[in-house]
């Protein structure tokens, strides 16, 4: 072991330096918290990597809540208001990195609550970290049913799992279409969320009495021409696709290049993203999607106002109409604010407070601009909010309109789709 001239070992010197640095730093940390107590919220999402688009949508939703609540003075607890401080962790579109980021937010930033990642894969990876440190996480995006099957004690989901929404949507579409479709082909991109969306469509097709002529899982990197050619040869009435934005765009482009257009094309996430219609322009028209929220739904709350008010806020701040992911993420903050208010604990929350916060979140029964929020207490969708009804939408004239929702502004479904121009 190396020693310096005074005989102090290098290791001891470094230990001493570390302790001294920590001792010097700690009073400032404590003073900062004591002077301006704030609730610390950690956001883990995909700020780089292949899911950067969705990751930024989640971040915008969470930030929207923080901006609005801070503008009102902060979260109300016992008559006082406490501002919210946001911390961010990038999962780099990689679940393992997401778990590391969550741990850093909890240990280094000492967050009181976590807001969950964009992808289900990262959400599942972060759950054990939440359990280990007993920090509640509210997920405004994760839609895979597998997120809830393991009954995560500290994780809560705002958006209903995709097996519920995708499955129901085919029945709604089949009911709205005339003449009634009889056959359907399902494509799912082979990654967790998209595959489960495909499975939701597949099971929904069977439940709706449709004949499933093909069920294809495709690699995210692969060329879609072979699978679209194969499906075209089977001449299904409807094609349902589980995937994110890029494969969805490529499905439409490939179908057009092969001059194949089913009577109905339904996708899940991504259709309501303005980038989808912008990328495809007129070719996007007629594509159906499934959402759990639209700016036209007739819900409201005291913080954001109506769904339309929220949409206007996002439009003003970010320059685009929000989709349901942004809405779900903004509502995650609302759920935290409601729970901590009921709990009556001021920042910073102790470990015991965080466990009590988890219990308070589990008892949430809220009506928001997003719709009703109430978490399941048992079953395969444990801690998921399955209250919202899926809304069938279709792109018509470049705009996304509801075509199958009782509460939304219903437009007539374009069916069958005309041949490609």
């Amino acid at each position: 072991m190396s020693t310096n001239s005074r005989g102090v070992s290098r290791r001891r010197f470094l230990e001493g330096a570390a302790v001294a640095t920590g001792a010097l730093g700690m009073p400032f940390v404590r003073t900062a918290r004591a002077d301006a107590p704030t609730f610390k919220a950690g956001v883990i999402t995909s700020l780089s990597g292949e899911n950067i688009l969705g990751g930024n949508l989640t971040k915008r939703g969470y930030d929207m809540w923080a901006d609005v609540i801070n503008a009102k003075g902060g979260v109300e607890v016992g008559g006082d208001r406490f501002k919210v401080e946001m911390f961010y962790g990038d999962d780099q579109s990689n679940p393992a990195t997401g778990a590391d980021a969550a741990e850093r937010l909890i240990v280094q930033n000492e967050v009181d609550v976590l807001f969950g990642p964009y992808t289900s894969g990262s959400t599942i990876a972060v759950q054990p970290i939440c359990q280990k440190y007993q920090v509640p996480m509210i997920s405004g995006s994760a839609e895979s049913p597998n997120v809830w099957k393991a009954k995560p004690e500290f994780n809560f989901g705002i958006i209903p799992a995709v097996d519920i929404t995708a499955g129901k949507s085919l029945a709604v579409l089949a009911k709205a279409a005339s003449p009634a479709p009889k056959t359907v082909a399902v494509i799912g991109v082979n990654e967790p969320f998209s595959k489960e969306t495909g499975e939701g469509f597949r099971d929904g097709a069977k439940a709706a009495g449709l004949d499933l002529v093909a069920y294809e899982l495709v690699p995210a990197e692969g060329d879609l021409t072979p699978v679209i050619s194969k499906i075209a040869a089977l001449k299904p009435d409807m094609v349902a696709v589980g995937g994110h934005e890029e494969p969805l765009i490529n499905v439409v482009k490939t179908s057009k290049s092969l001059n194949f257009r089913p009577k109905a094309l339904i996708m899940h996430y991504g259709v309501t993203d303005p980038a989808f219609a912008q990328a495809l322009t007129a070719d996007a028209d007629g594509t159906c999607g499934v959402v759990v929220w639209l700016p036209t739904v007739p819900y409201k709350d005291d913080l954001f106002g109506t769904a339309k008010d929220f949409a206007d806020m996002v439009q003003k701040k970010f320059g685009h109409e929000p989709d349901y992911t942004e809405a779900g993420c903004a509502v995650s903050g609302l759920v935290f604010g409601d729970a901590v208010k009921r709990l009556g604990k001021k920042p910073a929350l102790s470990p015991e407070d965080r466990v009590a916060l988890k219990d308070a979140i589990a008892e949430t029964d809220l009506h928001t601009f997003y719709g009703p929020i109430k978490f399941e207490k048992d079953g395969d969708h444990f801690h998921d909010n399955i209250q919202p009804e899926p809304v069938l939408v279709q792109i018509q004239g470049g705009k996304t309109v509801a075509v199958g929702h009782e509460g939304g502004a219903g437009a007539a479904l374009t069916y069958p789709l005309p041949a490609w121009k």
Binding site: I52, L53, K195, L217, G222, D223, K253, S257, N259, T281
Partner: protein, 312 residues
């Protein structure tokens, strides 16, 4: 229970096309495979040329593809012009940038540091990361599409539908490969390139300015690859994250072809495209990458210098 793989294949048996349509599907699959092979070849040819001369595996290849795609997108979106008009612009613009980067790569590759080939590899990986990060910062994360005169156009020959834009890409690949062959085997400068690829020291002794030649070759490669990017964005779509996919495919094709073999790249790309199409159609799309990896493995086992045995 999730139905995938063989369960999916079994479930699809009841819904397969009828006998008369089987032949149609076979022909369609063959055309699909050859065309996607041609598409893949477009960005692999320059990659091979660079390896042959600079002895560098350029991980930045996907970055050049995406840059070409973005150029086409902005030309079509801002100037309201056909995306294909970006092809010559991409060649000139990114060719010039490549010409400036080439000497840096040459210096690193020929430096006196230990393992300069790994340093060069790290440099291209760094360049790729820089390009990807720069594009994300500058242009955001949305996926874009590039409209062209051939977008959505198809030719129906009997039972087979041929997407015209893929035909254009395949023709582009053939023209580029043919042009490169003529250039390499019918011009004095091509002779200098081949001589450099074969033995750098001897070429230098014969009066070839290796440094300038490397800059020219890297510029040529960057220009060709960016042109291919225009086609990629028109056929598929473009966002900053798709570059890695093209880098991997270029590498797969290069290994199958034999590193440095331009002719082999065309053959290997057509082979991989056809395998992917047939496996996707008749076995299941989820097995297509497995089939590609298995093919690579077998070829490396039997013929480590690639399918034409002309690789380095």
């Amino acid at each position: 229970m999730p139905e995938s793989g063989f369960a999916s294949i079994l479930s699809n048996k009841q819904s397969e096309p009828k006998n008369g349509e089987q032949l149609d599907l076979f022909l369609q699959t063959l055309i699909n495979g050859l065309l996607i092979g041609g598409v893949i070849a477009t960005f692999t040819i320059g990659f091979q040329l660079t390896f042959g001369v600079l002895h560098v595996i350029d991980f930045a290849v996907g970055g050049w593809v995406v840059l070409g795609g973005y150029l086409a997108y902005y030309i079509s979106a801002l100037l309201k012009l056909d995306g294909f008009l970006a092809i010559p612009v991409a060649f000139l613009l990114f060719g010039a940038i490549g010409y400036l980067i080439g000497p840096i790569l040459y210096n690193v590759r020929n430096s006196r540091t230990a393992r300069p080939e790994l340093m060069a590899l790290a440099l291209t990986f760094g360049l790729f990361t820089l390009l990807r990060g720069g594009m994300l910062t500058a242009w955001g994360f949305n996926t874009h599409s590039v409209p062209t005169a051939l977008s959505g156009e198809s030719l129906t020959i009997g039972p087979v539908t041929v997407p015209m834009i893929r035909v254009a890409a395949a023709v582009f690949a053939i023209v580029i490969a043919g042009g490169l062959f003529l250039f390499l085997y019918r011009t004095r400068y091509g002779l200098a390139i081949r001589a450099t690829a074969e033995n750098r020291q001897n070429a230098a002794l014969m009066g070839v300015n290796i440094r300038r030649l490397s800059a020219n070759v890297y510029g040529l490669y960057a220009g060709i690859t960016a042109m291919a990017g225009v086609l990629m964005a028109a056929i598929f779509s473009v966002n900053p994250e798709v570059g890695l996919r093209y880098t991997l495919f270029a590498f797969f094709v290069a290994v199958l072809a034999g590193l440095g073999s331009v002719g082999g790249a065309l053959v290997a790309a057509l082979m991989l495209g056809t395998i992917e199409a047939f496996v996707s159609t008749y076995v299941g799309s989820s097995y297509s990458l497995l089939a590609i990896f298995a093919t690579l493995f077998l070829v490396l086992l039997v013929s480590p210098r690639g399918i034409l045995k002309r690789g380095l």
